[in-house]
Every structure is written in C-alpha cells, then in structure tokens.
Amino acid sequence: MSAPVTTTQPPSPPPPDPHPPRPAALDPTRLRLALRAAPRHPLAVAGLAALFALGVGMLLVLAAGAELATAWQALDEGMFGSPYAIGSSLNSAAVLALIAAGFTVAHRAGLVNVGGEGQLCAGGTAAAAVGLALPAGVPAALGVPLVLVAGFLAGAAWAGIAAWLRVRRGTSEVITTLLLNFIGIGLVSVAVHEEALLRQPVTSSETLPQSAPLPTGAQLPLIGGPESPATAVVPIAVLAVVVTGIVLRHTALGLRLRAVGHSPAASARLGLPVGRLEGGGLAVAGGLAGVAGAALVATAPYVLAEHFSSGYGFAGLVVGLLARGSLTAVAAASLLFGFLTSGGINLQLAAQVPASTVQIVQSVLVLSIAAAMLFTTRRPGSRR
C-alpha cells in the first residue's frame, strides 16, 4: 500500500485552463508519475497486498492476546497438521473453486454473479430432495451423479431467474442475484422446517430441523486415506476448473463470451446471440454453485440443515473477485482460502484467536488488490 505517499504531494502548479488547481492526489497523471517507481506487475502487486494482509493478521493475533508463534502453530496444525486437516482443507478449497470458476464464466460474459450463496442453497436443497427420493440400495454410480446433476440444474435455474430478468427487463444482475441469496437461504430454512418438505420425521421435541441423512448410494465417495475426509468433490472441482479454463480460452464459445463481455452492442452487430450468451454464462455460474451445494449436502453428516452453506457462497464470490477472471488464479486463491478457513477454525480452538481473523485478512487482501489496480498498467478482465 504505497497510496498514502501521494497525499503529501504539494499542490500542482496552476494549469493553463481556468479551473482552480486540485490537490495532487486527485490528479491521475501526477499519481502515475509519483508511482512510476512502484511495482506494476500484477503479481508484484498481489505479493505486496498479501504482505499487507499478513501484517494485519499478525496485529489481530496480537490484539487478541495470543503469541504469534502459538497462533502460527495453531494455524499450521489446522491446515497441514493431520490427514484430517489436509482433507477438510481440500474439500473447502474444492467448494470455493466450483463457485469461483462459475463466477469467472459469468464474469467473462460481462456479468457479476453475486448470488453464489443463493444458488448453492438451491442446489443443496434439490440435491437433498433427489437424494432422499432415491431407494436405500441405489448404487453410488447412479446416485452420486443424479444428486450432482440435480444440484447443477437447481443452481442454474436459480441463476436463471436473474438471467431472465437481466435479458428481458434489463435489471442489473448484481442486485437480483444479491436478493436471490436471501431468498435461497429462506428456501433452505422452509424446506428443513416443514415435515411436508424435507424435514426428517419429528419423533420428539428434540428432533433437529434438518433433513434425514442421504442414502449411502447418494453420498460422495471418500478418496483419501482412512483418516482423510477428502471426497470426490476435489477431482470434480479440478475437472470443473480445467474444463472452464479450456472452454474460455481455446474455444469459439469462450471467444464469443468474451466478445459479449467487452461490448454487447458490437457483439449484437456481429450477429451473436447476446442475450443467450449472457444468460447462459450466468446459468453455468449458478449451476457450478449448485454443484457445490450438492457436494456439501452429500458430504458428512449427509444432511441438509440451516446454515449448511457456512457462508461458502460469499467466500467463493470473494475468491472469484480476487482471481479477476483468471482460472489459474481461481485455483490458487481457492487453495489459499480453503486452507486458511480450516486453519482459522483451529486458530480459535487452539490459540483462542477469533476465527473471524481469517475473514478479515481475506477481505483486506481483496480490498488492497482492488485499490492497487489503478497502478498496474493494464486492468485484467474489464467488467462491462
């Protein structure tokens, strides 16, 4: 963060035009001159931002009254300390990567999908409904794909509402997907509170408002060793990131999406189906978030419950924002955030530092990168 330097610059000399002089900090050419020495490469900027965020994190640890060494040990233990830690970190990273990969597809078409949380909820609800409707002895080769496809379709349909409004009525997808988050969260609540819907049979006053567990054939298979909770969501997420990467980069469809993202008007002139591309991009984003929701339901304890999303939808959005349109960055940022999330839980358990420290550090990281974008020579991934 080298921005504050500029605020101490002396005011610029009077320009030849009749306007009064402005403080130097508001003059872009001067800003650029002053920061000519500052790093321009996006990776260098990201590195500086990461250092800054790390510094904030250390201050927060100290403010909570913990030793830095203890906190570091707790964080490390929570991230890499055991097969269990690594496995659950990888699961988190996979869920984040699915949402962020979807975000990137929509982003390429010029849309900002803020609705990962709602789409994840819709996907999870549909996955639970399908999984519970399956007979108890269903083979995993049939049950798991059905559950995941249900998640994809429901997530895509949820995003489809926003896509339809955007294409037909011109309503900003930022606002509609945002609102659909809250409605999606409500949908899950309703589903798990009503016995007529997905609530497990109420036998006593202590029956929790959640669904019955999914049959074995609908549960995601474990892929790690005996102590690792890593499930098939990890290879699924890798596949999703690789496939979206290839489609966006090396196919005509990817080029069309990018064209629409750069200029809908020019794309329409060229005869591209702008509405269908935009809507499709958003629907795929929703679908991938829906798969993430289905994966969460199909992972231990295999139930749909309120707050089953644990804020993954919003965290995945932050990963997508951080990656700024690059799928390599999506993979890297998902791993970073996935491991940090697991580490943060242990930070609270072992070092008594609030787990929200991790959330603060993540937001500071994204904010400082967003702030520094002015100084990089080129803006990767224009929004509209």
Partner: protein
C-alpha cells in the same frame, strides 16, 4: 422496522445520485451498530454510543470513498468486500469486547418517548410517535436530507449533475470529487445511525451480523424507488412492513412458516426492482469513476 431502512437509504439515495453505488451500506450499518454498542457499554451512556457509531461510520465511509473515488477501484468489488470486512471485524471485536456471550449482554439503550396525544392514534400512533429520541432524530434527518437535496434546489441539482455526467459537471465548475466524498460520508453517518438505532433502540444488545441484510434492502429501496426520495420512502415502508410481518403474523392469526416471512422482504424487493414499479433509468454515471480529461 422501516426506520433503520429509511435512514440508511436516505443517505444511499444521495450517494447513488452522485454516481457512487455504495453497496457497503450493510457494512456501515454493522459498524455503526457495533461501535454504538461498544461506546454505550464502555461509557454507560447511550448518547455516547450514538456518537461513537457516527465516528466509526465516518471512518468506514472514508475508507470506502478513498477506494472507490480516489483509487477508482471497482465499486461492486469494494462494496461487497467492505461488507465482508465489516462482518469479520465486528465479529472479531465482539469476541474481544463482549466475550462469547455477545448477544446476551444488555446495553444501556434508549427508551421510547411517546408524543402526548399523537401516539394514541390507532395503528399510526404507536408506529410513528412511540420512538426513541434517536428514532425521531432519524425521521428528521431523513426528511431534512430529502428536502435539502430535492431536485428543485441547487444542492440537489449539483448532486444529480455529478451523477449524470461528471465531466460536464467538472467543466461547469462543480467540485465532483468533493461532492462524491460528501455523499459517501453522509451515507456513512446515516447508515451508522441506522445501525446504532438497531442495537441501542430496538434490541438493546449487539449480536453477530445483527443487520442481517437490511443494508442491502436499503440499497434496493433506492433502486426500486427509481432514485427519487418519495418512491424510495414508499419502498422502505413496504420492505419494513414485510419485515415486521414475521413478528406480527402470529398475533394476526396467520400460520405462515417463519423462515418464509424472513425472506418475504427480499421477495418484495426482487419484484420491485424487476420492473413491477415500471421502467427506470439509473444515473448514467453510476459506478463510473471520474477522471478529469487532460
């Protein structure tokens, strides 16, 4: 229920008219609620709490303004991330200040003051005239902002000019950056007061994520109100009414699922922005950063 919404959106309306889409209203409200709770708890006085809330709201808004106006960062990215930051920071702070049982601690709050006679009007009376001092202040502030920045006044026209075409506004001598900073800071004050109202007048406690999405409703109310003060007020009232239904439904004998009612304001908001209220046009400079052509 509509009061925090109304107050927050009265500031947000100005900042959007000036061209800054302040998605961080939610974060500003949360910051205000937390700072208000800490101030009231530390000093034992709710008035000090309100003051700390305003200061914290200003600081938070200054950060947002620096990022989105001076550094020209993407307003959607900064808005959403600033909300995540506020959620993380207030949750962290609540652990440190109030310990784990944050929600349980009762704070020195504000008591409702009934206006003689007027509060006996059926239905309207209790809603309007049994507020706390902060509540009346909120009404007055929202009204004052709507009148002072009406489109019939110079100040309102200046704000609109900056939001519609910043370059032309700059050429005609309007201080574009100062006006944008001013509106964002103002939003910080109104949102923080709205948050403090939640924590000190309504709940008398702070709990994690106490605002729970009201800030987003405030942003949507402005859009549904087509960037005009009176329709925005109407939207706030509708959303607020939908919110209070979750408490009123059992009393009215309605047996609706509680989670369904919690989501109801958002359904209304979605219907409102998706064109039930008619086509609308945003200020053309909304989310467009201002760079003076050299």
């Amino acid at each position: 229920m509509a009061l925090p919404l109304l107050l927050a959106s009265s500031g947000e309306l100005l900042s959007e008219r000036a061209g800054v889409l302040n998605l961080s209203v939610e974060g500003m409200m949360l910051t205000g609620a937390f700072a208000g709770a800490v101030g009231a708890d530390a000093s034992g006085s709710a008035a000090v709490g309100v003051l700390t809330a305003v200061v914290a709201g200003l600081l938070f808004a200054a950060l947002q303004a620096l990022l989105s106006i001076t550094l020209r960062a993407d307003q959607i990215v900064t808005g959403i991330t600033a909300n995540a930051l506020a959620l993380g920071a207030t949750t962290y702070g609540a652990r440190l200040v109030f310990g784990d049982g944050a929600g349980a601690k009762t704070l020195p709050g504000l008591d409702p003051l009934a206006v003689p006679l007027l509060h006996e009007i059926p239905v309207l009376g209790p809603a309007l005239f049994e507020q706390t001092l902060l509540g009346y202040l909120a009404f007055a502030l929202a009204l004052a902002l709507a009148l002072a920045f009406s489109r019939r006044r110079t100040a309102g026209l200046a704000v609109d000019a900056v939001g519609e075409d910043a370059l032309s506004a700059d050429r005609s001598g309007l201080p574009v950056t100062a006006i944008r900073y001013g509106t964002v800071l103002l939003t910080g004050v109104t949102s923080a007061l709205a948050g403090a109202h939640l924590a000190l007048s309504e709940v008398h406690a702070f709990s994690d994520n106490i605002t729970g999405g009201i800030g987003y409703l405030a942003v949507v109310a402005v859009i549904a109100g087509r960037w005009r003060a009176w329709p925005t007020l109407l939207a706030c009232l509708v959303f607020g009414l939908a919110q209070s239904l979750q408490f009123a439904a059992p009393a009215l004998g309605l047996h609706l699922s509680a989670p369904l009612l919690v989501a109801l304001p958002y359904v209304f908001a979605l219907l409102a922005v998706s064109g039930l209220v008619g086509r609308s046009r945003a200020p053309s400079g909304l989310t467009v950063p201002f760079v003076r052509a050299s």
